[in-house]
Chain length 159, copies 2
DNA sequence: TTGATATATGTTATAGTATATCATAACAAG
DNA sequence: CTTGTTATGATATACTATAACATATATCAA
């Protein structure tokens, strides 16, 4: 529930635990966490920061994977489609999910200074959004909140 | 407060009233609603539907305006920057604001079948999002909610 | 009015993001 | 073995957005 990304944490075990967790979920749900898919997840986890598809592609290339755009986009589609990562539309960039074990509406806090991103969880069902949708007869299937502002590390420094 | 877009309304007066309202606000705030800016606003109002920059550009071209990409993007920057329109990041597309008279966090209900869009208003300040941001020391300056699903007109028809 | 300053537009070129398409490989089920 | 399914390889192209520089128009103070 705590947004990570603006506070330090034990990152080595963080990555290992996340990868193990995703491996387990894939096994349970009959999903194939192929080498390139796992590698893209690791790349995203390595920084808790949004990365563009072409940034990821550059790392894959350095790792010896085939490096055409579809390679990255396919792996990202898999990760996003199965809830292991999110796309931040405002940045055209991707992040590993910080809460991969449960369904949720992600809420991204995007620092416009340092461009770091933290993922919280929104509760739209108790927001006016749910009421508007209900009134309109609209069925929400997926949702995302994207907030731009200034993180605690950058507050005071730059305007 | 009511999302429009999934219900019919008197569209002729809707456009006229919106344009008049924006003209008035521009006068009050010392903003120049130049011909191309007003025309782009009208184009967005003509459909309550998200339009890509290049769709808008095609209409401008037909109207005899210069039709290079910056023409559309500049007008859109003006409209979005001053709250008369919004960008829907998920669609890389733009819509006229349905509530241009007040500051608000827009919440878009995007039908994945017919691609129509309705704009409601979110109240993030009473959502868990605000609490997460406060806990993290993050200052939210702008925010948007984008929800994808099925509108009442399409529910039942397509899966 | 005039000149200085800021704002807006015209135009060309290019950067950045994402997908369509077709071919090939790996594997499992029948 | 062959057929269906899923994942990859590879090429080309579509779509979205901005940089950079030139020109014009508005605004305002002197
Ligand atoms: Zn998440
Ligand atoms: Zn920051
Ligand atoms: Zn709005
Ligand atoms: Zn619909």
């Amino acid at each position: 529930m705590q947004p990570i990304g603006f506070k330090s944490h034990d990152h080595g075990t963080c990555i290992a635990h996340s990868v193990t967790s995703v491996q387990k979920q894939c096994a349970e749900r009959g999903l194939q966490l192929t080498p390139v898919r796992q590698r893209v997840l690791e790349i995203l986890l390595a920084k808790h920061q949004a990365m563009g598809a072409y940034d990821i592609l550059a790392v894959l290339k350095a790792d010896g994977f085939s490096a055409q755009p579809p390679v990255a986009y396919r792996a990202l589609d898999f990760l996003v489609g199965n809830g292991f990562a999110h796309k931040i539309e405002r940045l055209n960039a991707f992040v590993a999910c910080s809460h991969p074990s449960s369904e949720h509406v992600p809420a991204f806090l995007i620092c416009r200074v340092c461009e770091n991103v933290a993922e919280g969880i929104a509760n739209l069902s108790e927001d006016t959004v749910a009421a508007s949708a209900r009134d309109a007869g609209f069925i929400i299937e997926r949702a995302v909140v994207e907030a731009e502002g200034v993180c605690p590390n950058c507050d005071g420094a730059q305007p």
